[in-house]
Symmetry: C3
Subunit: 305 residues, 3 copies
Amino acid sequence: MKIDHIVQSQQFTVPMIWNLFERTKEMEKIVRRGGTKDYERFIMASLFYAPSTRTRFSFESAMYRLGGKVISTEQARIFSSEIQGERLEDTIRIIGNYCDLIVLRHHEEGGAIRASSVSRVPIINAGDGSGGQHPTQALLDLYTIYNELGTLEGLKVALIGALDKGRTARSLAYLLSKFERTKLYFIAPPEVQIKEDILEHLEEKNVHYELLDSADKIISEVDVVYQTRIDAERLIDKKIDLGIYNITKDFLKKMKKNSIIMHPLPRSVEISRDVDSDPRAAYFRQAENGLFVRMALITMVLDFE
Amino acid sequence: MKIDHIVQSQQFTVPMIWNLFERTKEMEKIVRRGGTKDYERFIMASLFYAPSTRTRFSFESAMYRLGGKVISTEQARIFSSEIQGERLEDTIRIIGNYCDLIVLRHHEEGGAIRASSVSRVPIINAGDGSGGQHPTQALLDLYTIYNELGTLEGLKVALIGALDKGRTARSLAYLLSKFERTKLYFIAPPEVQIKEDILEHLEEKNVHYELLDSADKIISEVDVVYQTRIDAERLIDKKIDLGIYNITKDFLKKMKKNSIIMHPLPRSVEISRDVDSDPRAAYFRQAENGLFVRMALITMVLDFE
Amino acid sequence: MKIDHIVQSQQFTVPMIWNLFERTKEMEKIVRRGGTKDYERFIMASLFYAPSTRTRFSFESAMYRLGGKVISTEQARIFSSEIQGERLEDTIRIIGNYCDLIVLRHHEEGGAIRASSVSRVPIINAGDGSGGQHPTQALLDLYTIYNELGTLEGLKVALIGALDKGRTARSLAYLLSKFERTKLYFIAPPEVQIKEDILEHLEEKNVHYELLDSADKIISEVDVVYQTRIDAERLIDKKIDLGIYNITKDFLKKMKKNSIIMHPLPRSVEISRDVDSDPRAAYFRQAENGLFVRMALITMVLDFE
């Protein structure tokens, strides 16, 4: 299964997701064995228009574990002292001469699609715009759920935070809607609740969902708590007790034994440090899965057989 | 043919240029085959005092295709929080301990020569100062003409733009003057025409040239149009119609079938997007040649036989 | 001899230092032979919270000469556009998934110890805080003395500069106190003399030391002059002739034949350029030793037997 570009999570069908997860399992084994040299003749370009060290490191480590090479910038906006802001399309055409794969973090929504329309090498979208896509994050989130719980069917998932602007929560809701008997709980102050477009999509797909302003009612039932930032600054005038959205030791006590807490990271105060040692705290394992999923995605766009 | 340092285009004699072009052809083949490991024990340092992602990527890709390794900075000016602006000579002496080759982009004219005077490893000048040299660009431009047209003799070449400050156009004129029966047409508003020093050089060498303020007269005759930026800001008070210097579909119609359009890139408005699909638009192939020429140049300074 | 983390020079006992020096000699041979591939399955992360190109290049070159790979940032403070300043502990836990070793330059004193307390991979401290530690610099300084003079016993060492804030001079004094019959001369204007904590440590260890405001008295006796910056800005109101602390040709004339001048670099005016060609000027060889010592230190934390 060869993919030309990875630009948005919608492009992944269920069979593609299973193919990805099989490859990901294989990548875990490869990393345990110390990596491979299978991709040693390939060069990946990290073309980041803004710094995002963690995402970049995760992709670059993935490429190195596969045996490949990396050229890298975190300041692609400053292309030269003479012209600031060359057109993305020109840049992509030129950089495509110097590599076999471009990992692109662009500041404008739709940047990855524009890039893929002119590129001679595969584009992997590593985030485009704040309202845009970050498909590899969504896929690693989904993989983490599968890997931790052993299934993607019949799951009850609570998503917490400022969901209206939560790119990762939105993408995950979208991907989970593809699987049987999913139940979604969107937990947020009404001012920052998930937007209508996602809800319409869920209704079309007949996915059960509930909008809640507290986790109390469902906390003991859910299989996954997907925690994100609450964006306190936007709510500063609302006199809402935002503390109720934080995950603490007390919150943990009410959760099922066989459940997990996830977070796309970095976190602020929304998960207390003393939660870290609980086996249900899956967020650091989630970050580790980022490596394996990205290795698998790289092989899907580069595969030369 | 071993070169100690590559600091200015003047150091390249015609035999050296042919040797370079032979190597470049070989590099094209090596890249098609997926690269080589011949240089795997070598480390290149990209020492950029200002960002220039495209040039840097082109060199780093070249080194990786040769099998080598790269250490890289785009902010060499900030050497430490304590001392800003260590002397270039000290920096070069120290960095020379950590690599086998330094690719230097320096902000001062003459930086590359100063560096080469103290360096224990080869220096390749990747641009020094706005009025300085960028020899690898000049050589890849020359190679592109040779590769596209099959010869460097008897060529008619139009150079368009703000030629007085056009480092790449100036260097190319210089290199072309070494070949038989070259005719050069400098096309620019008089305010930004090519400087006397180049014209004196051409007269010495008996090279035919013309200064024109429009391409109209020669457009249907030339083999190469070398387009550069027109630097509109400097001409803003002059009430000149700068649009006549842009290359459009109409401009193309008047050009010979067997001719090419080049540009050092990045471009602004001086070449319309709808020109890109014409086979005579050679500027993206020119960027690709940058890879092969730089690979060849790296082998010329590193060669260990 | 396997070390978990390298965070401060105090952790090195004399037997560890000899083990390190043996390995360092081995590394010199390996580099002369063109490097090794022994560590090709390892990835090093350069996690720099502030740029320090020279130190970073030295570590990255070391890793490449060992055959390994490198992921690198000089702007780790800007972790994402959303959260500035993620907790160091979270960052380390995540980055540890993407590499086998983290080289950390942190802006806060104690950063390296905090990092090592949560890290799943070895941490090497590449400088933490201005009042903190830079153990690999201290060890390469010590190695340089040993390599140049053939012994670490019975040495007379003059340390010059703003010693109260001189991280490197302080660390070197500390390490030298471990060896027999060391005599130390601290030469500085009283306003910036070495601090009490070091002197107390030397008294405990029965190390002979003298505080001097000029090198005159001991210049002809010492084996090593360790020159550092004098920090003229802090002394601007004091009407002190700082020129007497600079090393010039005249200073050289008074030094023993079999002695050396060292400097952690970068230098400002405190060593004249015309001293560079004297065989006693050891500071560029000192920088080269940085490569070998750091290679050896990397093998000490990675060793897999």
